[in-house]
Amino acid sequence: MKYAYFPGCSLKGTGRAYEESLVPVLRHLGVELQELEDWNCCGATAYMAVDEGKACAAAARNLALAEQTGLRQMLAPCSACYLVLNKAQHYLNEYPAMRQVVGRALQSVGLQCNGDTVVRHPLDVLVNDIGLEAIRQKVTHPLHGLKVAPYYGCQIVRPYATFDDQANPTSMDRLLEALGATVVRWPLKTKCCGGSLTGTLPEAGLRLSYILLKEARKRGADVIATVCPLCQFNLDSYHPQIAARWEPVRLPTVYFSQLMGLAFGLPAEQTVLHRGMVRFHPPPVPAPAGAEKP
């Protein structure tokens, strides 16, 4: 299996643990990724607030580059990139005027975008292309006893839910169960973490992160699993500020791909747990299979 790959800026910066853990996990499952040559920033939420035509054009340049690879399927692990690339695709297909403007703009630099690349999230690929059974077979260090709160956040299921339920997504729950972990049921799995408001308007933004952490702790989670670099950053980085405003709610937040790496027994430089500010210490390796009592 081979996919075009759009890492996005965060995965090369503060969210590097996501890429560092996801790529080896996918390789371990026989998936090959081809990073787009000279990709540009997708525009994220900020560009949409300035000019939607330009936002679409910035995203569409990447879609055009993806088409050049001939792979037709592109992986976009960051939730904001995933949303923006899908949104651009929708705009180009729904609005002929937008399609014309963006098409001509791309043409001026010799690019072309037909809008037929399917932009996919790693969870979608893992659960629907690779399959939970194949994943289960690779588990050598099951995460028995580990209580994980799966956190999907906003932008992978809203507004374009293509691979999971909008109100109650379960793909990550099922994935974590396949790794042997215990999934904590909590109602906040798709609530907003505050996005960039944690930095721009902390009085409002941080409260949302605080609520998530507090609820996950209340429900007994050992760790939160996330799919997005901004969610990870928000839930991991502001503990001192949250403690000062409300109460301490320390809890590690890692990418689901880091938990997969642990369960597959991948080396520490591929699970990169040292990237967390609240360090996650995985439970000791469980007793060999069969020794367990139900």
């Binding site: 590097r16 994220a44 949409m48 340049r61 937008m98 630099v109 907003c192 408001l197 500010m277």
Partner: protein, 196 residues
């Protein structure tokens, strides 16, 4: 205490504003709003807003341009899309909020000290110049322009990032930078704008 009139007068309207917004791709369905308030109910940030999302929808539709463009609401919207997926009339509230942000930035009427429009501007400039975002640089610039003193308070966070190997001062850039600039200029040309 500032005493202000709290009801709106017909004369405050800017006729045509609502139509104009509703003609933007993605914003058309606004005319079907039934003022049910679902959007305000699900919005995780409505408790901080001066106008709730439902009120913003009606203000737009009724041409109260100045009120919405100067509201805090549009900057508090975190683009979580909760309202958009719950709206019984399929109104893309999040996209309408984006459209309002765009206009507020263009007309420079956003509330002073609000770092969000500054972040959006710095963000687009960085994409335009380099093709990619270097988060550390972007956030530092935003702080310097809006709350230089608060930047000091963020030093601890920077240190933590440094320790976990996630801090990078390097400006990431793409090879074909001129492509981005040319694409953006072409969009302006196509939209009939002649921006300096």
């Amino acid at each position: 205490m500032e005493i202000k009139r709290t009801i709106k007068y017909e004369a405050d309207r800017v006729p045509g504003f609502g139509r104009e917004i509703m003609s933007v791709p993605g914003c058309e369905a606004l005319e079907h709003c039934i003022q049910c308030g679902t959007c305000s109910g699900v919005c995780p940030l409505s408790i901080y807003m001066d106008y709730t999302p439902r009120q913003v929808m009606e203000l737009v539709r009724s041409d109260f341009k100045n009120e919405v463009l100067q509201s805090h609401t549009i900057w508090l919207c975190a683009s979580c899309y909760a309202c958009t997926v719950e709206c019984p009339r399929q109104i893309r509230i999040t996209d309408i909020m984006y459209e309002l942000k765009q206009r507020a930035i263009k007309e420079r009427v956003y509330p002073r000290r609000f770092p969000i429009p500054v972040l959006a501007e710095e963000f687009t400039r960085m994409v335009h110049d380099h093709g990619r975002i270097s988060e550390t640089r972007l956030v530092s610039r935003m702080y310097l322009r809006t709350r230089p003193l608060a930047a000091v308070g963020m030093a601890g966070l920077g240190l933590q990032l440094l320790k976990s190997g996630r801090f990078s001062w390097k400006q990431d850039r793409i090879k074909q930078r001129e492509q981005i600039a040319r694409i953006m200029e072409a969009v302006d040309r196509e939209n009939g704008k002649t921006e300096a």
